[in-house]
Each structure stands twice: as structure tokens, then as C-alpha cells.
Symmetry: C2
Subunit: 292 residues, 2 copies
Amino acid sequence: MSVKTDIFLGDSKDVLKQIPDNSVNLIFTSPPYADQRKSTYGGISPDKYVEWFLPISKELFRVLKPDGTFVLNIKEKVVKGERSTYVLELILAMRKQGWLWTEEFIWHKKNSFPGKWPNRFRDSWERLLQFNKQRKFNMYQEEVMVPMGDWAKSRLKNLSETDKKRENSKVGSGFGKNVSNWLNRDKAYPTNVLHLATECNNKNHSAAFPESLPEWFIKLFTKEGDMVLDPFMGSGTTNFVARRMGRHSIGIEILSEYYNMVKSELEKSDLILFEPKANYEKTKSGRRKAIR
Amino acid sequence: MSVKTDIFLGDSKDVLKQIPDNSVNLIFTSPPYADQRKSTYGGISPDKYVEWFLPISKELFRVLKPDGTFVLNIKEKVVKGERSTYVLELILAMRKQGWLWTEEFIWHKKNSFPGKWPNRFRDSWERLLQFNKQRKFNMYQEEVMVPMGDWAKSRLKNLSETDKKRENSKVGSGFGKNVSNWLNRDKAYPTNVLHLATECNNKNHSAAFPESLPEWFIKLFTKEGDMVLDPFMGSGTTNFVARRMGRHSIGIEILSEYYNMVKSELEKSDLILFEPKANYEKTKSGRRKAIR
DNA sequence: GTTCCGCATGAATCGATAG
DNA sequence: ACTATCGATTCATGCGGAA
């Protein structure tokens, strides 16, 4: 019942070699984006980006289970007024490594950074590239079903009486057969466009993405006890979410600053686990508040 | 004050040769998507897609003004459980022709085709690739500003409705009062994500995209009296919208069925222009009703 | 005249069946 | 083996008739 969260300090290209073949159910990551400033760490220049990434994606291919999934959050930068093409080239190159480019989800960032340029609007979306090793992979679609749209809502008014009856039958005389029907009608399968706000209010760690992003894909592609990997851990968002959701996880980070931060956070939560339950509940609740 | 709308029957690859260099302000088009069914007309196979398109994009480069813009609406199909890569390859190939890949807008299709598959959700977005000949191009950003309040919801739809009102009042009793009201509101610049529903309900013409799509880009990249080109005219949506907005336009269509349909529509509206004003109002109103 | 509901209809995709 | 056709799945939208 205990969830393992293992983190490593080092370069993914090397560290991944320690991870056994076919052992990971989901890889979710947001690698450092290409950057002109080579001085900054992680500032891989757009020209070298594919070359830099391929050795890593090769290792990722090895460690991923055949029915597992790799989700890559990425967006090309603008260079000299033009979108860079390294993401396109990366997709083509990864296919040559054996990856299947199954799908491209869009993350629509509802509150994108404000700004205005003479010949460009705000960039409010990012790619979530889904890669697989084979056509058949695990996907738990029901886990991410969403409430139906306006059509159902607006028409739900008149149905409310009926709904109450059905609800009553459920509570009262055992199974209402209608309930399952109704429940199914209430929810719809999502699309490949995700509408999420960016988290702009976190004090300490500037995560690349909101928790709900890895959460959605972890729900969709793994079940409890599965293994999640983030080869560019950063502030550890993927791993913390996986942990909370009862998935084992591995995180790799090259910068000791981030690594230590995540490490101390994990130790804190480990301590909490050893406390009596009453205290745990209390602390847990406090911590949650603090995070928000 | 007269707006020219010229349509041609034939293959864009050939017909475009008749159009002079540097004469078009905006190219907006949605080419036939790659299709497995080779028997159907327009079913260009994914393998041949780039090869098929490049001669055309070369001509488009020639006819576009240096400060003009080319907007390409396209989305790759799924083939054997995997997204085809022809769009990625096309972007790379067009850059070698001299095109700058300035931006990629996302069209979020609010009402995408339903369906459920074991390993895939509904596809509810398409690409709107913006290409330019040079870094400096004409962009009238103020024209597509949106009211602040309507952000989350269907902002473009509102704009479109407003435009229709404005159009009506313009044609009828001079400039409408609504316009000034609307103009006084606080407005914000949009982002590169467009939220539009597909028009699935029109009886006669089944357009690939809703009118608000070309409308938005025509507003953004042209002014009145400019020249708009659609090399894959289809049912003529781009041209009719351009016409309504006071832009000259050229449409090219290879299927005589579509060509004739657009031609007769255009002749109808030419006749209307010659009628006395009272009759025109009546007819116009009737036509609008019929369309709805 | 509003508001409300019924209904047809999509740039879809998969898997099975048939030639 | 490989390709062509078909049925099943499923939901936001707007028109048209009804209350």
C-alpha cells in the first residue's frame, strides 16, 4: 500500500540507464524548452534540440512498457519572428526511433501571459504529444469523463423531477436501473483539447504546468500502483501528483537546487506518514492549505 | 466602391499562373485533406500530399504581396492508429521554398464530430498555419479585439453577430447605433486560440469551416479594397465573406459542381444589387431567413 | 413574441467483413 | 496480405415546430 517516489540527481541521458526495460507505465514530462541564451542551464539552442533529445527519448523507449504511454509537453519558441521547427523535426526523428505519434493534445492555457506585439498575439496553447510503442496501449477513458455541455444543462431543468425520482429509487429500493443510464448521460468523453489555467500563484516553485495537467494524463493512462516517470522533474509536480494518486514514480533532475527542494518536500511528507493518524489528518490539511 | 469577385474553374496549379506577381494581400484556404480513398476525387494520399501541394504553394508565394499573409487551414488524419506526419513535412518543405512559418493558430471546434474509440478521443481542433514572405507584414490587430467580458465563452461568435448587425444597418438606414455602443466597450486583444463551432446545419452548402473563420483572418490581415485569394474555393465561403466585407477576391475550384454553385450564387447577388432599394431590402431579408 | 424541446447532422475513427 | 466499404459509436449546434 506504500507508494514509492524515487528521485535521482543527474542527467537523464545517464540516469535512465539504471532503470530496467519495460518498467514504466507513463512518462509525463515537460523538458527544458529550447532557448537562445546558452548561458542559462537547460538553454539548449533550437538547432541542437533534436540532437540533444534523441539519446534520451531512446532510453525512454527502452524503459517504457509496451502498453505504456509517453506524453511530452512542449511548445516551440519564436526565433526571429518565426516559429522554430525543432518540435516538428523531433516528432519525425522520434518516429524513426520506433515511436508511434498517436495523438497531439492541445493544452489551452486559459489565462495566458498578457502582452502584445506588433505582429503576434499572445501564445495561449501548448502541445501535448502522445507517443506509444505499439497501437494497443492502456487507456482508462472513463476516468476522465466530464460533465456534459450546455445542451444537457439547459435541458436538465425539466428533467429535474424525473431525476429526483431516479435518485430516490437509488437511495430507497436498491438499484434503480435508470441510474446507470442517467449517470452515463450526465457525463461525456472529453476531446483532445484541454482547458486549464496556468498556476501563477505558487510562491516558491514555478512549475511549468498546473497539477491538473499531469493529473489528467495519470488518470487516463495509469491505474493505482503503476509507475510514472518524469525525466525532467523540475519542481516535482508530476511526482507529487502521482504520489497523491497512489502511483509509484521516478523523477530525474540535473539541477541540485530543484533536486534538493523536492527531496526535502518528500522527507517532510514521509515524516507525516509516521505520525499518528489524528495528527496526520491535521497536518495534511494544513499542508494542503499552505500549498494552495 | 464595387467589389470584384472572380472565380475560376480549374486546377490551382495551372490557374494561378494567370495571376500576376505580388497582387494578393491574403490567401486563406482549406485544401482537401489527405485521404486514404484514392478513388474519390480530391483523395490525395498522405504519402503524396507534400509532393502534390508544393507546386501550388510555390505559385502562391509568387502571387502574394511581400507584406501579405497566407493562412492554411489543415489537420492531419489518423492512419493506422497514428497521426500522419504530412503536415509537419509540409511546413518544413514550404520553409525551403522561402516561406516563413510565422505562427500556428488553433481552431478549437466546439462541436466536433462525436464518437468513441478504444484508444482515442474526439478530435476537436485544427491547425491554422500562418505563413509570410517576410518578417514585416500587415496586421490590423485592433480589428479583431474582443469585448473583455466574453472571454471564456464564444467570443468570436459574438463578434460575428455584431458584424452581421453592423452589416445590416449599413446596408439599410445608414450606420447603426449598435456599432458605436459596441465600440465603446473595453476590449482586449485575442490570443492564438480561436473558439468556433463548425457549421453543420446549412442545407445547401456544406462548408468546411464557419464564416467567422475567414472573417477573422480577413479582418486581421486586410483592409477594404484589398485582394483575398482562395485557391481551393469549395463552396465559396471565403469569397462570399470577403465580398460582404468589401474585399476583392479570387476563387479557384477544380470541381465544376462547386464552381457552378458559387457562380449562380454570385449572379444572384449581382442581380440584387441592380434592384431598387425597397425591393432589395425585402429580398435580402428573405434570403437571410432562408439561409437560417 | 418568447422559451423550450425534438431532431438531423457533421473535414471522425475503429474494427469487421468482403472482394 | 492488402484495400474498399459499412455499421456503430456519440455530442454540440441551430433550425423549426410547439407550448
